[in-house]
């Protein structure tokens, strides 16, 4: 006996297909929940960070809808629930979205669906009968799994921020978000709302670095139908999920309404059109960008402290959603990931002082960036500089690169200034301009150690003076 029977006309069939396509972007399975007046299709993604649901109203969406509760042993079940592999449903409804006037021969006239679920002799099948022109009847019997769907809850009362905007407008925005971006930040200040799509993921292992890409779209609040959002609140959701939603919402011109409270609490997006109520609940990511918009150097430092206070928030508010669509686990690694691109971006107008902490930069800063800020990168720099040196010089320099004091000892003990120039005469002429004044700062010497080497060669004594004068520890070592 059929538990549920409904009939869909070709028009609604296309809409059903669109909805299924949208659900397919969240999960590979669709949960159906039928009650006396509505059919709800839901999908929850694998990380449980996004939930999509379409409510098809029995009397408006379907041309016929009849739900007969199954009278099992004790009482009638109020709802019938099942789970179907979306690919199977999609392939049933595929291709029929095309303009029926063009595909005359195989145009769909009607689609009858009946769900048979019985104990014993009847097989449990989701039967779809598509009646096409010329009496071609296509019958599908899909298997389904009888499980109760998982619904995401959204507490409207606590959501104090809301806005609504035309889906067409949103669709235009979404087109600009690069395919490589992962997060979408929504932020409003002074009557302007900025949608920023960006990516935090720069590395994978220690291999290819993903280019951080930021696209910001600033919109006047007047574009919104309604706008009541706390100023300067960053709310971050997944771009992919947002895009999936807007791809569906943008098919028709409707008002998309967003409701949310604060980061790490869910955001709800809803819209409706003829008999379909669409609802999406997305997990928002902790405010990983923080106050980064201000280019002050301390911002990044302030940021680095933030994770400590933020982390527990995420954990408490939604333990099951801790693993959002953000690829790295939101443990201590996540804030670092979040901070670094920000710093790189901010640093262009006014570079902050190099961070003393080295723990993150080895992994999260691009190589060029890394080198620029690295204060003590002896080896690399020397190797580079080596190219400019004459061959006669090489020997001493290589020694130098190993241990400064060794070469000093050597030079001092064996050569005086004139002797050296005779021996390495060519060298002394080639680099006279690089001679350093004896009064050079230690910091300068340290930052380019090769210069030290040159001086050793050219005027060993002055070098010793310099070191003795400015850097006692060197002289200690050398005199020992």
């Amino acid at each position: 006996m059929a538990v549920l029977t409904f009939t869909i006309n070709p028009d609604a069939l296309g809409k059903l297909h669109d909805a299924l396509v949208c659900l397919g972007k969240f999960s590979e399975a669709v949960c159906l929940e039928a009650s006396s007046d509505r059919l709800v299709l839901t999908a929850l993604n694998s990380s449980k960070s996004a939930y999509a649901s379409f409510t098809l109203l029995g009397n408006r969406f379907f041309s016929k809808y009849h739900y007969r509760p199954l009278r099992s042993s004790n009482q009638a079940k109020e709802k019938f629930t099942c789970k179907i592999y979306n690919k199977a449903l999609l392939s049933v409804f595929k291709g029929r979205v095309a303009d029926p006037s063009r595909e005359k021969d195989t145009a769909v006239e009607r689609c009858d669906v009946s769900v048979e679920d019985g104990e014993g002799k009847t097989k449990s099948r989701f039967v779809i009968k598509i009646v096409c022109r010329h009496g071609v009847l296509k019958t599908y019997r899909l298997t389904f799994e009888s499980v109760a769907p998982m619904h995401a809850l959204f507490v409207k009362e606590s959501a104090n921020n809301s806005w609504s905007i035309s889906s067409k407008t949103l669709r235009e925005f979404v087109e600009h978000f690069g395919p490589g971006t992962e997060q979408l930040d929504i932020y409003s200040e002074d009557g302007r709302v900025s949608f920023t799509s960006y990516t935090e993921k720069i590395m994978s292992g220690n291999e290819i670095l993903k280019q951080p890409l930021h696209t910001t779209i600033a919109v006047d609040t007047l574009e919104f139908g309604e706008f009541a959002v706390e100023e300067k609140l960053h709310i971050v959701i997944s771009v992919k999920d947002f895009k999936s939603i807007i791809a569906h919402a943008g098919i028709t011109n409707t008002m998309v309404k967003a409701l949310y409270s604060r980061p790490t609490s869910p955001m709800q997006l809803t819209y409706s059109e003829d008999g379909i109520l669409s609802e999406f609940i997305l997990m928002t990511i902790g405010e990983s960008r923080g106050a980064s918009a201000t280019p002050a150097p301390n911002a990044s430092r302030a940021n680095s402290k933030r994770p400590a206070s933020r982390q527990p928030l995420e954990a408490i508010s939604s333990p099951k959603r801790a693993a959002t669509s953000m690829p790295p686990p939101p443990t201590t690694a996540a804030p670092n990931l979040g901070r670094e691109p920000t710093r790189a971006r901010v640093s262009r107008p006014s570079p902050p002082p190099p961070q003393p902490s080295l723990q993150s930069e080895a992994l999260f800063v691009t190589e060029a960036e890394d080198r620029r800020w690295d204060p003590t990168n002896f080896d690399e720099e020397e190797d580079e500089m080596l190219l400019w040196d004459t061959p006669g010089d090489k020997e001493t320099v290589t020694m130098n690169s190993g241990h400064l004091q060794t070469s000093e000892n050597q030079n001092r003990s064996t050569n005086g200034h004139p002797g050296l120039s005779a021996e390495d005469g060519e060298q002394s002429y080639t680099i006279p301009t690089q001679r350093l004044a004896p009064t050079q700062n230690v910091s300068e010497v340290r930052s380019s150690p090769l210069f030290v080497a040159d001086i050793i060669l050219i005027s060993g004594r002055s070098e010793v003076c310099l070191i003795e004068a400015k850097k006692p520890e060197y002289s200690d070592q050398t005199t020992k």
């Binding site: 592999y85 979205v97 097989k123 099948r125 071609v136 009847l137």
Partner: protein, 340 residues
């Protein structure tokens, strides 16, 4: 090379010129499911036969009407008007690489963009609904830039050469010919025909692509004397699907069936004929006593009149008694049961 030179004094066995490689490509593309094709040249045209595992066979006959000139000087005294069946043995027969031939023919872009349509049905909604054979307003033919395609074959051991000319560019291609494999045709008993249906090929295509959604391994074809007339069904891991052509009158141009006829075939093989279903205007579905299925497609190629593409399929062995009481075969179980 020496063979060509040697034969040069006489005319080559076969020489033909076609105004467009496109038609040839379209037809041969229908049978591209196997890498090698057996070619037979006769006074009437070229016959390309392709087979797979001795259970599926595809034949394309390129009628001489497709060519602007067609010269075939068969060796030996065999008169051309003879009974073709007895002459078969003496006709020039060789095998060539079909994929290489197709590659050559489409070197100037004769390929239809929508050739992959079957695998990705909704990728191109616009293209999918136009009959692929239809000339495009911007095709070279329409723009008057039609190229010339020359085919020639000098004799046993010499290559099959194709010369394509299009807007001043000439491509010469010599395809090695191989010994014919001498594959026997799948026997189809014309005198013991059980079912004969002529219908629009497009509907068959639609039905097959519909069924492919369940990724089945078997396709069951059933012809009834009564109500559902013709039904195709398949079962896969996700469920089962069936397409019924209930209103026989409108859908089926010819429908002759003695009694209920049902056979199953390997779905992948039927699907290999999808290109022909897509291209053809009509199809004649015939089944004989032993269950051999013959699909004859009538293809109207632009400017070339009518050509035929033939397929033959050997059925799966079925236990006649079992089919109605829910054959306990694993994957078929679902459908059969419900059908009963």
């Amino acid at each position: 090379m020496s063979t060509i030179g040697e034969l040069d004094h006489g005319a080559p066995i076969f020489k033909a010129v076609s105004s467009s490689a496109r038609q040839l490509f379209q037809l041969l593309n229908c049978i591209r499911f196997a890498p090698k094709a057996q070619v037979q040249i006769s006074n009437e045209g070229l016959r390309f036969a392709v087979e797979e595992s001795r259970v599926m066979q595809g034949i394309v006959f390129l009628d001489k009407a497709l060519f602007t000139t067609f010269n075939c000087t068969l060796p030996g005294p065999e008169p051309s008007g003879d009974d073709p069946d007895s002459a078969t043995a003496d006709l020039p027969n060789f095998s060539i690489s079909l994929s290489a031939l197709l590659e050559t023919l489409q070197i100037f872009g004769a390929a239809d963009i929508a050739t992959t349509r079957f695998s990705k049905p909704d990728s191109d909604a616009y293209g999918s609904n136009i009959r692929p054979g239809r000339p495009n307003a911007f095709s070279n033919q329409a723009l008057g830039m039609a190229g010339v395609c020359r085919l020639s074959y000098a004799g046993i051991g010499s290559p099959f050469s194709i010369i394509l000319e299009e807007s001043g560019v000439t491509t010469t291609c010599n395809l090695n010919t191989y010994e014919p494999e001498g594959a026997e045709e799948i026997p189809f008993q014309r005198d013991a025909m059980q079912v004969k249906i002529i219908m629009q090929a497009r509907w068959l295509f639609d039905a097959v692509s519909e069924l492919s959604s369940t990724s089945p391994s078997r396709l069951d074809i059933t012809a009834h004397t009564g109500a559902p007339y013709l039904s195709l069904s398949a079962a896969g891991p996700l469920g089962s699907a069936s397409v019924e052509f209930a209103k026989g009158r409108d859908l089926l141009e010819t429908f002759t069936v003695a009694e209920k006829w049902t056979q199953s075939y390997k779905f992948e093989m039927i699907k290999a004929a999808a290109e022909a279903m897509r291209l053809a205007s009509k199809v004649s579905v015939r089944g004989d006593e032993q269950g051999v299925l013959s699909l004859q497609f009538m293809v109207e190629v632009e400017g070339g009149g009518i050509s035929f593409v033939d397929f033959r399929f050997v059925p799966f062995i079925r236990d006649e008694d079992e089919e109605d009481e829910g054959s306990s075969q694993e994957e078929e179980e679902d459908y059969e049961d419900e059908d009963a």
